[in-house]
Symmetry: C2
Subunit: 211 residues, 2 copies
């Protein structure tokens, strides 16, 4: 099988979301054209993206919605549950912990950590906040490989080091600082300020890629 471009993986969650919406609307099949309208992505590109993983469509008809949902979930790995840990029980951490969409997609908040003694023991969305120093043992014991980092900027690197020690594979970094980790650990930066900075460019001047 040919190497799957990074961009394809980034687009799959978008397709999945569209399909879930189309499913909720009650349609049994859909087309790359429809998905293209919803996502703003060229239909040919959508077809090619999917073909990296198999021929899921029916010529002349389109894609069977439920089937394609199942396939994309399988490709992404969201067809089975995942335990995640949230580090930082502040505003952002608790907001994410109580996010309903997580469970719908098979993500279970299995541990929440915080340094602050006042927060330890408090329940957030049914999960007790644990002391930060217990992080490596707890995460190893529960085999958690995904961490959401939502601590203050000053603590970010130190906690990232703890996460590496805990053998984490993926860090969703919601802090504004760039953390340094070994190559084997995948970091994805999701700080809201960064996302705003990026969109700012569209305010002045014209957008690239608009027809």
């Amino acid at each position: 099988m040919k190497k799957v471009p990074e961009g394809v993986i980034e687009r799959l969650p978008a397709y999945l979301n569209c399909l879930l919406q189309i499913e909720a609307e009650g349609a049994a099949t859909t087309s790359s054209k429809r998905l293209g309208q919803m996502t703003g992505i060229n239909p040919a590109e959508i077809r090619r993206d999917l073909v990296y993983f198999g021929s899921f469509g029916i010529k002349g008809v389109g894609y069977e919605v439920k089937y394609l949902i199942k396939e994309i979930k399988g490709i992404l790995g969201s067809d089975h549950p995942h335990q995640i840990a949230i580090i930082g029980a502040g505003h952002l951490g608790s907001a994410i912990a109580s996010h309903n969409g997580l469970r719908n997609h098979g993500f279970f908040v299995s541990a929440i950590f915080d340094k602050d003694a006042d927060k330890i023991g408090v329940e957030l969305g049914g999960v007790k906040v644990t002391a930060l120093k217990a992080l490596p043992q707890t995460m190893r014991k529960r085999k958690i490989s995904i961490a959401i980092l939502a601590v203050p900027p000053t603590a970010a690197q130190a906690v990232a080091d703890l996460l590496v020690e805990a053998g984490v594979s993926v860090i969703l970094n919601y802090t504004s600082v760039m953390i340094t980790v070994p190559d084997a650990v995948q970091v994805h930066n999701s700080d809201p300020v960064n996302e705003l900075l990026y969109t700012l460019h569209y305010l002045s001047g014209k957008r690239p890629g608009v027809k």
Copy 2:
């Protein structure tokens, strides 16, 4: 000037973050090599990215940190303040509203809207929550062109329509649903679940792009 690729704009906030950290460490100059180590991006690509906007470096020396920060802020448009609105005063909305990093980068939460009568009038980070139906007039009056959408999925499209009516330019969509807006409105999807789905792929099998 040549057309600036989309990817360049996505990387600039990362460079800015690195530079701010380097500045905090007290260094006066830095190099594309250093930035490359911090971001995982090829130094030649960093240099080329920057050259889209001007020659900011000194051959044999590198980049003057403070100067490059100023230039990148100028390119992104974060050298002057921006008013933003947050729609949805739930967990996520309030977390973002109280995010300190916003002000540091010149983003001011100028309005917070919610449908829930219990929340209207409550203060969040110094800003009073306003009724959703007042959104179009309020946003037009205050000339807010950036909106952060943090409402329940079922309300997302209706609120997006309101935002379009209010003449918004950029929507940072923190809901899980794909919203439909006119081409002139830039939507950036930032739902945590989507970001998790995307990173999932790195758990199984090997990452693309790793040397």
